[in-house]
């Protein structure tokens, strides 16, 4: 999906002459290098200085530009959190923070480079839109949709290639509206990012065992699709959330917040169990830290037992 991002910037760079892109020495990895090559006069690499990058992005945006600022998720969300808070969220400037290498599947670089708390700290910010696309096409749709709205946003992409979920852009992608990928009446899985594929696989397996599983791609964590959550809770009576993130403060928490106040049904969160990651191959890490269809299946069975 990183390639999709890089290409999207180049394509959009043509349509939006006031589009400016910044990076912090990770341009080759984030793929903003593609834009840099095409439009060098609209690209600035701020070097290993993420705080500088974010406040600089704000300054550029204040002059009427649409700014995309990229780096790894840990640095864009964590290192520069105060700058995101004050220079971007508080000012409501038109800065899209699009980061890559989100989650534990960053892999061999290890814990310092694995963003496992970023959804939590970004969604806590007022005025911030938080989106986690599930595949390359959804990444493109996200970028296009964000260009049409003014304001702060955080988009988190993963490092590895992702299986295709969306064949083309015909899906009605709307910020803040979850996408129903599979109907079902026994349980609903809300997933984001790489966990969407895992959820779909889990649903296939569960079907064999007679459990009819609904799967929703909850790409927008903030603003969360409250209506959809409530409807799914009422219609299926049990919820599982799945994210490549700690179970504290991310998608699971966002869904739980809606349920507790509106439609109390049993829920189980699938995610990283409040720990840092480590070096390893992406798939190995998913298995070790409980981020596969296996854990989702187990969670579904657990939550269904608790249904009234």
């Amino acid at each position: 999906m990183r390639d999709a991002y890089g290409k999207a910037l180049v394509e959009m760079g043509k349509l939006y002459p006031n589009l400016v892109v910044l990076d912090a020495d990770l341009s080759v990895s984030t793929k903003t290098s593609l834009f840099a090559k095409q439009y060098p006069e609209r690209f600035f690499d701020l070097g290993v200085a993420e705080q500088d990058m974010i406040s600089t992005a704000a300054g550029i945006a204040s002059c009427g530009k649409i700014v995309f600022a990229s780096t790894f998720a840990v640095f864009g969300s964590g290192r520069a959190w105060d700058q995101v808070r004050v220079s971007v969220a508080y000012t409501r400037l038109n800065v899209k923070i699009v980061v890559t290498h989100g989650g534990i599947t960053t892999g061999e670089d290890g814990a310092t480079h694995q963003a496992t708390e970023d959804i939590a700290i970004m969604r806590a910010l007022p005025n911030m839109t938080v989106i986690i696309p599930a595949d390359a096409t959804e990444t493109l749709m996200t970028i296009k949709a964000l260009l049409k709205v003014h304001g702060p946003s955080y988009v988190r992409l993963c490092r590895s290639a992702t299986p295709v979920i969306y064949e083309n852009e015909d899906h009605d992608f709307k910020i803040g509206r979850g996408i129903l990928l599979r109907g079902g009446k026994d349980v609903t899985i809300f997933a984001c990012g790489i966990m969407v594929t895992e959820a779909l696989e889990a649903a296939e397996q569960l079907k064999i065992e007679g459990i009819d599983t609904r799967v929703v791609d909850m790409h927008t964590i903030k603003p969360i699709d409250k209506e959809l959550i409530i409807n799914c809770a009422k219609e299926t009576g049990a919820i599982v959330t799945a994210e490549e993130h700690t179970i504290i403060g991310g998608l699971g928490s966002a869904v739980a917040e809606v349920l507790v106040e509106n439609a109390l049904v049993p829920m189980v969160r699938v995610g990283i169990n409040d720990m840092f990651g480590e070096s390893g191959k992406p798939r190995e890490l998913q298995e070790k830290y409980g981020l596969t269809s296996k854990e989702i299946i187990s969670a579904v069975k657990t939550v269904i037992k608790r249904k009234k």
Binding site: E41, G47, S55, T56, C63, Q83
Partner: protein, 277 residues
């Protein structure tokens, strides 16, 4: 370079005095705020808003305006006073400083007040934002300049040096920064907490043109420094302005640590206003 007339200097000094009066009045009225660091910057801000910068109070979004970023955002009172004097909003409004619902927030807020280019308050961010504006203006081939005031305590923030590197690297000749070198921070003298000296050498090392030894309370010297800065096209300029925290109010000048973030009492206000005639 044209020599500035004595009359102009006198007018500006008079304006600065008005601004100082507003600073002590509004902070006293509100019961909180940062008078010391606002007073030290008063002459610099006066020079900018009433002589150096091109701006239109009745058209705050005028696209060819010069921009000003108050990176030391806690000195909001001095900026508010200047904006009011310039006509961005009625002077009577100044007494709403920090009150619930007021556009005069404790630290400058670009969304609530016309004339504020960037929200600041968390130190170290304004210079980066100013760089961003300078880059955007250059991209658009605009002739507007960006002015930014930073603090000496603020210079302890790492981000200031990230931004310094950026401006030097991109040769941002359309940026003029001023260091309000009042030598005091909250916990003590800057040089005792975490010394920033040798400060001129530091900015030169970051590829800035440095104009130092400027008396930050000598209007002629300030304006001359800004003019010299304007002439340098291929480097950003840092003006090191030697200032006094609390300048203009004798008991604040004598007790710089007491008036960083504490407003004058009614009695102190009366005493201050007597000196600012």
């Amino acid at each position: 370079m044209n020599k500035i007339s004595d009359e102009t200097i006198k007018d500006l000094q008079s304006k600065a005095k008005e601004i100082r009066r507003h600073i002590v009045e509004m902070t006293a009225c509100c019961g909180s705020g940062h008078p010391g660091g606002s007073l030290s910057a008063a002459d610099i801000i006066t020079a900018l808003y009433f002589h150096v910068m091109s701006h239109r109070p009745n058209e705050p979004e005028w696209e060819d305006r010069d921009r000003f970023v108050l990176s030391k955002g806690h000195a909001a009172p001095v900026l508010y006073a200047a904006l009011a004097e310039a006509g961005y909003f009625p002077k009577a409004y100044l007494k709403t400083l920090r009150k619930l619902g007021s556009s005069l927030q404790g630290h400058v807020d670009m969304l609530s007040l016309p004339g504020v280019e960037m929200s600041t308050g968390s130190l170290g961010q304004g210079l980066s934002a100013a760089n961003g504006m300078a880059l955007a203006l250059r991209m658009d081939k605009k002739r507007s300049r960006v002015y930014v005031v930073i603090g000496d305590g603020e210079s302890q923030e790492g981000q200031i040096w990230e931004a310094a590197m950026t401006a030097g690297h991109y040769k941002l000749g359309n940026i003029t920064a001023v260091l309000d070198h009042n030598k005091y921070q909250i916990d003590g003298k800057v040089e005792e907490i975490k010394g920033i000296q040798p400060i001129s050498e530091k900015w030169r090392a970051f590829r800035w043109n440095v104009i130092d030894g400027v008396n930050g309370h000598d209007m002629g010297a300030i304006i001359s420094a800004f003019e010299r800065a304007r002439a340098i096209k291929d480097m950003p300029t840092m003006i090191i302005a030697e200032t006094v925290k609390g300048k203009g109010v004798s008991f604040m000048e004598k007790n710089p640590l007491d008036f960083h973030g504490k407003a004058p009492t009614k009695e102190e206000l009366d005493a201050a206003l007597k000196e600012l005639i």
